[in-house]
Symmetry: C2
Subunit: 352 residues, 2 copies
């Protein structure tokens, strides 16, 4: 049974009493071969325990069907959701995407990209690691490999991008906070080396300006994009002379951290301090209290990215349009009105 040397189409050919070419045709489902012959060959394939050697085939065909997905942080459930969306569409196209993690490390990313290239990928969907330079993709671009960026863009690069409307999302969330009566706002987490950060912060700032919040009342605290970062941000903010009463967080992880830190101080997220997240990961809904967050339809973006990729491969081009995904604010329990605002106008009513 356990034949030592692996079987090739020649073995199948001998077994079935046909030529290697016939076997190859059968393997590719060509309509040129007689049905009975095909049956015979397929039986032989089973019998010898054949496994197709895609490497050898690619050598001749010059294009694989491997699509790589390069992700900067597998640990963030957000990216898992993205991956799931992509897989849905690739699966129905009969292709299996391979995922590789760069752990937010540009050096590691270089290795991953190199490995994927050597493997002869047909295309790449990438959420670039922080600090990536456009040079990292020059090789790929020269080789004509289709690439699409998901969720993150590089400062100056002509590679197509699929991303949510970060600016608008931040604007919506901030407007909501202001509408609740908050006048001292904060933006928590993230740092300016991320384009996404600039976009979200931009939306926050624009909302503040447009809706009459003085610049000095819009506090910006940079920090890690994690629970821990959120905790740190809140500590910093509450230590100030005129602390904010509400915060828009760079992402949900930061928001969770903020809520945690509030609780630790005996404050209740929502009534005592309003917090809004960004991304609306599944946990947001299940948190206590449930987190108000900007929903970006992550799996949907994954699907989009996959479709664009498929189209690029099919039309053998390396260019495509950017896609800016719609966002919407999902209001839950984590942001009540400003208490002081309520005191000022006692008749103004309840939480909604």
């Amino acid at each position: 049974m356990a034949s030592r040397a692996k079987a090739t189409i020649f073995d199948i050919a001998r077994e079935a009493g046909v030529s290697k070419s016939t076997v190859s045709l059968v393997l590719q489902g060509s309509g040129l071969i007689r049905p009975e012959t095909a049956v015979k060959v397929r039986k032989a394939i089973e019998d010898v325990g054949y496994v197709y050697n895609r490497g050898a085939a690619n050598l001749r065909k010059a294009h694989s069907n491997v699509i790589g997905m390069v992700i900067n942080d597998l640990t963030n459930p957000f990216f898992a959701e993205l991956a799931v969306g992509m897989e849905r569409v690739f699966q129905s196209a009969g292709i299996v995407p391979f995922i590789a993690n760069t752990a937010e490390n540009p050096v590691r990313q270089e290795e991953v990209l190199k490995s994927l290239m050597e493997q002869g990928v047909a295309g790449l969907i990438v959420s670039p690691a922080r600090g990536t330079t456009p040079a990292a993709f020059r090789r790929l671009e020269m080789a004509g490999v289709p690439i699409v960026f998901a969720m993150r863009r590089l400062p100056e690069s002509r590679i197509p991008v699929i991303t949510p409307d970060n600016h608008r999302g931040a604007y919506l969330a901030t407007a909501h906070l202001i509408g609740k009566g908050h006048r001292q706002l904060a933006f928590f987490g993230g740092s300016s080396d991320l384009v996404v950060y600039q976009e979200r912060l931009g939306g926050f700032r624009e909302a503040c300006e447009t809706l009459g919040i003085a610049a000095r009342d819009a506090l910006v605290v940079e920090g890690e994009t994690s629970r821990r970062g959120g905790i740190a941000c809140l500590e910093t903010a509450l230590a100030m002379a005129e602390p904010p009463t509400a915060a828009l967080c760079f992402n949900d992880a930061v928001a969770f951290g903020v809520m945690l830190a509030l609780r630790k101080r005996g404050l209740e997220p929502g009534p005592d301090f309003a917090v809004v997240g960004f991304d609306d990961v599944v946990e947001a809904e299940h948190y206590m209290p449930a987190l108000t967050s900007v929903a970006v339809d992550t799996p949907g973006l994954g699907e989009r990215a996959a479709h664009v990729m498929l189209k690029m491969i099919q039309s053998r081009t390396t260019r495509a349009e950017d896609h800016i995904g719609a966002v919407n604010l999902v209001v839950r329990e984590s942001c009540g009105p400003d208490r002081r605002a309520l005191n000022r106008q006692p008749g103004k009513g309840g939480p909604l």
Copy 2:
């Protein structure tokens, strides 16, 4: 610059004025070539924008350096942690593991496995999808591909397994609950088609028997292994005539769901109903209240699995020993003593 046809070692050879064989030697870092020649060749490699064709090489060498990781649920942060651990060791071995997701679907798993085989993987680390039959791996085994199962085992299979000591973990957790004075215990979530479930449930049962809990006071509620499953389990349990006062959950996700459902009913996890999780994912510590859970050192298991894999590849064997990882109970805030027990013996003291 953007040469249409991709460069081969022949192009390099021409550029550098040497033979293809010399180029090949340089590529492999052979000590046989004169340093100056090597330099010349390496320059040519840069100049022509060469990318190594691993497929072609494997055709000759018959063993790739690709290792695949097949995961049943990318969405569960638990598996991301496992992946991270593995990547640590593979990275230092200079190899890039490719991750593929089966979404707990045996059919999808079949496709993934097939694709990986065709790609000529050197080895596979697999957390099999629920309902996998040993037959799914026969092909791989016949081909002599080293396989390691991580976290889950198949009922009857000689493939080596890396798994935490589920039985012991469940025993410890249950004993802890009983030590707190609980007499009506429940086991929430999971279903018996999972070997892991049987192991954990086994530990629970053994602790109950050994420590004097009657079988009729040990309630078992099967359910999804997710937050939602946890919510459902709690509802079911509390609807009973003599509801439990504490539960060991199949995993942390179930535990989170249980805590959520408790809160929804106005009960406080810990004081009103003790809950213990399993796996100790990072969120457990950050939850409110922090979840008591059985820590299994997931990244450590990932590292173990990777090491075993490397060793198998190196010694070209397909056999290895199982590894049962140590576990320990991390006590946090989610399980107080049974209130009724306190009432019975008021002097018995505080939560610990």
